[in-house]
Amino acid sequence: MGMLIEDLKYAVRVHTRNVGPTILALLTLMIGIGAGAAAVSVVNAVLLEPLPYRDPQRIVIPWRLAPADANLGYSEVPWGDTDFLHLLELTSFDSMGAFKSRVFNLTGVGEPVKLEGMKVSAGFFRALGLTPYLGRAFSGNEDREGNEREAILSYRVWQERFHGDRAILGRSIDLNGIPYGVIGVMPAGFAFPRAEEMPGSFDFPRQAEVWVPLALPITDKASGPDELAVIARLKPAVSIATAQAEMNLFATRMERQFPDAKGWYGSRVTGLMEQATAKAREPLLLILGAVGVLLLIACANVSNLLLARSMERRGEFALRAALGAGKMRIVRQILTESVLLSVCGGAAGAMLAAAAIRLLKVLGPANIPRLQEVTLDWRAPAFAFAISLASGILFGTAPAVGALHGEPAKSLRQSGRGAAGSPVGVRLRNAFLVSQMALALVLVVASGLLVQTLLRLLAVDPGFNARGVLTFELSLPAAKYENSDRIAAFYRKTLTILSAIPGVAHAGIVETLPLDGASDATVIHIPGRTDLPGKEPYANYSIVSPDYFSAMGTPLLRGRGFLDSDTASSPSVVIVNATMAKRYWPGEDPMGKQLSLGNFPSKMTILGVVADVKHLSLREEAGPEMFVPYTQKPFPSMQLMHVVLRAGRGLSDRGALSLAGAAREAIRQIDPDVPLSKVTTLPAVVGDSLASQRFSALLVGAFGILSLVLASIGLYGVMSYSVAQRTREIGIRVALGARGATVFAMVLGFGGRLAAMGILTGILVAIGVSRLMAGALYGVRPTDALTFVAAVPVLAVAALLGCYGPARRATRVEPMIALRHE
């Protein structure tokens, strides 16, 4: 114990005596371990941590897939009511539940509030294997039509609205003006489905707050639009492949029974874990890869610094050996020094990781699930610590062991010759440095490609002009707005009043806001066109108000927009987007053409063509889309609509946001029971759609900068060591007439050659590695020449910064040193 304390004391003295390299090593360890630990903690929590359900590996989602040639812009489509009833007959599943989102207005408990909710069948909770925190889940009884007036609340709503009162069970609450009896409260943190984990084509909430029975009518005839998603629990010992095979047989059976829907019963059975992590996997693996590279650079850096220090101390080790110290005694001393350094670096790294995780929670995009639940996983810093310790021990002790081989006298003589450094040691250090530069270039290229992707996405025309537009959601209580005419009257009055607000240039409403989810899709019929069953033309459709396109700034390419005079008593009209016009009337003028919706016989006439609008992301290829005026075709689905208000000229986005107060007051005066929610600006909606790309670019960019810092530190270390080794040589050159500039250029040239080798190697590595991130890129090739070329001067500047100090130091070498005898 006494010897260990002695070793520790000496280790502290060694590290503090030579404080520069110690600080560099600690900084390097802190960055490497900190970034590594933070990234591994996030990946572990988001991608690897089991879902909080019983046997989560048995939970699957059988998605219904649109035919490949439907070109909807997405592949997952909802099941119909009758489809679900047929799915319940499948034998692969223990339990199966259907669910769809619904918005509820909770009234009678303080201010009316809009709650994101779900209508779920009784099998929903059974499939998840989850029981409520309080009360019970739905039984088969509530699943029957007429018995559906019961609700289960989220923990948050129970706490915030009912103050955690356990007497909530059995109490009646008003949802959309209809009384529901509360039968349960879900556990804190329960959130299924989460919008960020589900396909964008389903408009699921980020956090459901209330669940009510779905209560499907038991009939073989479709009772409404297809809206259902399905979750199921596999029977024990049944694999996903087996379930998929049964789903395929189901498709064949259904197509035989419903030949008109041929091609629309395809499916994909997806494990819930895979589904929950699918969207986050690519950006997180990208970030994990970047952190891995950063950790490698950090290890190379620490190895280099310790190798240099150990080589400098070869004389000391030889002297100790000459004085009788055993090899193990010396090795133990060096191990103590390495462990001390790694422990301090590890502790600093763990603190950095904890801070980084806190920062990630603030800056991270909402579409990375469970990000808010991430905590520092002790295994992550332990892993990074072990790697850095291993490299420290290896490269800290190897030169010492080398010095202890052979006769002490020889080692002493060698060490006294200024430690020109063993050629192996020098080559190893240079190799580390070249690797560092190469890896840093890979990260710089990766961040360059992601930044370019972000810039190109920002430059994409979304089909509307977001600047100066305020948007919010209106949710009409179903009990009060039970018929379409009443709904239409509400919006007519609302739009009239909103348009009159000072500063509002245009006011419009739309069912599905661009970049906020997919609009509904439907089969259309085009007179004169015969299509095989299952091959009928398809289009997304949306209900809008006459002034909607002006409010959005969506260009009208042909014809005219809707007018208030387009009413139920006038001829039915429709506006199509450019893609729909081109796809279904190629080479023809679509103006005046007719079409009809699904099973509705009435024909609508095309009176205008508007630009394509992005719905799910800026990356998407627009699908066919059409718009109908609410004045002509009000639907009950209009209970939930988005309002868009374009601010007048001179009003910025902030100015647009300032319209919210007046809008809220106007709605309150029209109907105080109508809550106004999701108040934001359109640029914020566009920004949200890019949150994931921005997050990836930000993090990988940060890692790129850190890698440059580390590479610069590494080069500084190598060059400082090299200058120290070559002090005598430099002195001789100066004595022979070399000027300061010549010496400066010589040192810079040496560093430059190493950096150039690193850059060349890095380019080759980056060409290979960047292909792996092709999926994360948009509008830029993985081998984009501009990015690669631009990365070179960035690395060169980092190299210059690393070389500058040692090169300046070299110019200060006194020629007198040439006269000193060794």
Binding site: L736, G740, L819
Partner: protein
């Protein structure tokens, strides 16, 4: 100033003081020394007497704390580093005790080094280096590396390097200090031969036998010149 009358090198009342944290060390005091063109002068004295300090001032590797140093008619006491480097490169050839060849350069590259710093073109450099190596009898080893040569051979290469730039004066610091007696004698013979061919040589040595081979012997003690014997022109 009349160069011919004043000589190649003139030191007037040169002093050098090293100041450390608590100590002021007078390495040189009131040194007066004239060296004429073609002279072969040996500076000797016990360890710490200041002979190497004197040589470093003569070679413009260091500046005097006081006094004047005139080299080739130009005052060289208070020059800036770049100008000192330029004069060192053109006027002075160094032969060091430890040879000071650069290990990763070949013999010829080592000899060319001062010419590179002078900005001479490679063909001329090569020619000058070959001539210098010829003078010291090392032409055959031009492509060797220093580590492949004996100590005596390395010192001959160092002499060739000092000669290559055709300097005004050759400064030799204990040129045989790292050599055995045979190799030491060969190097001393070489210096004598160069002197006979007209070279001006200033050699620091503690070996009185070697000092006697010079035609003028300066003896130092405690930072002062205590004896200056030999033919004066």
């Amino acid at each position: 100033m009349n160069t011919a009358a004043a000589g190649l090198i003139q030191l007037k009342s040169i002093g050098k003081v090293f100041i450390t944290e608590e100590l002021e060390t007078h390495a040189l005091e009131d040194i007066h020394l004239d060296i004429r063109k073609g002279e072969y002068i040996a500076i000797s004295g016990p360890s710490g007497c200041g002979k190497s300090t004197l040589l470093s001032i003569l070679g413009l590797l260091d500046s005097p704390s006081q006094g004047d140093y005139v080299l080739n008619g130009k005052c060289a006491s208070d020059l800036k580093a770049a100008e000192r480097a330029r004069i060192r490169n053109r006027e002075i050839g160094f032969v060091f005790q430890a040879f000071n060849l650069i290990g990763n350069l070949t013999v010829r590259e080592n000899v060319e080094l001062p010419l590179i710093y002078r900005g001479i073109r490679s063909t001329e450099r090569r020619k000058a280096a070959e001539e210098a190596l010829e003078k010291v009898g090392m032409s055959a080893r031009a492509k060797h590396y220093p580590s492949q040569l004996s100590g005596g051979q390395q010192q001959r290469v160092a002499v060739a390097r000092a000669l290559a730039g055709n300097p005004s004066v050759l400064l030799a610091d204990e040129p045989t200090g790292n050599l055995d007696s045979d190799n030491g004698k060969q190097v001393m013979d070489l210096l004598s031969q160069l002197h006979n061919n007209g070279a001006t040589i200033c050699m620091v040595t503690h070996d009185l036998n070697h000092a006697r081979r010079a035609d003028r012997a300066v003896h130092m003690f405690d930072g002062r010149i205590v004896a200056d014997r030999g033919p004066r022109v």
